[in-house]
Symmetry: C2
Subunit: 165 residues, 2 copies
Amino acid sequence: MAGELDLVLERTLNAPRDLVWRAWTDPELLKQWFAPKPYLISELEMDLQPGGIFRIRMTGPDGFDTGHGNAGCVLEVIDGEKLIWTSALGPQYRPAEMGEGCESFPMTAIVTLADAPGGKTLYRAVALHKDKADRDQHEAMGFQDGWGTCAAQLEELAAGLKAEA
Amino acid sequence: MAGELDLVLERTLNAPRDLVWRAWTDPELLKQWFAPKPYLISELEMDLQPGGIFRIRMTGPDGFDTGHGNAGCVLEVIDGEKLIWTSALGPQYRPAEMGEGCESFPMTAIVTLADAPGGKTLYRAVALHKDKADRDQHEAMGFQDGWGTCAAQLEELAAGLKAEA
């Protein structure tokens, strides 16, 4: 489904799917891996239902700070399998104003998890854009490096979680 | 839930809720009332599930023609009660390019139906905008007149439908 307007990050993570899902959907866990270190997620709001808020604030070295951050909108949640949100809309589906940097163009993110052999997880994140210019801008901002680094952090965190009884 | 960035059309329609819903969600019926006459819906695509397409082409006197029309995205469907779609996204949630006229700004529409006394239906359509400028532009384009005329056409059509056995 990924076309020329999309960016795709795909990794096989050495952690079981339920723990990867937990690391994605527990806000306190998500904060620990969703920014490529030494950047940090300093604020996070996530309401995992259609129409719910998805907002992050990222800070980093040399005073880097995204500020309050534009609030995006959760679109679909399939437990353990899929999470979709967009920056084109805000909470309760109101069309969003664009911001700066990563928030200067609208994007929809589709994250999917699938079982892989050996108790691993096939992790896929697709970013959908409205046109080639936005896609190329997002790529030039370091989509692959950024999401790739975060995927490694996600793997490390998820692998260290204990499965629920 | 309607705030200063929204436009609201509310009418009590003299037709039962299930028939109003049918007139809204059957594409062949929707085409008959969704443009204020003498304007016409010449094309309509509607896939009533989250991520599904919502696209119309409107034509009218003096060669008026919206053209192919930007494809919007269905967000929520609660049978007989609620329909939400947006022009900020296209099918499968891809951020949408804006077009001309009514499609020059992103909008989310929330349509709700509720039972009213005497077998009537409380019909409510709310348009959400990202800022006051878009809201005012939409109002100046004739939101109230246009949606009001269409609501009357909807009422007439729904009242003439036969309830399903």
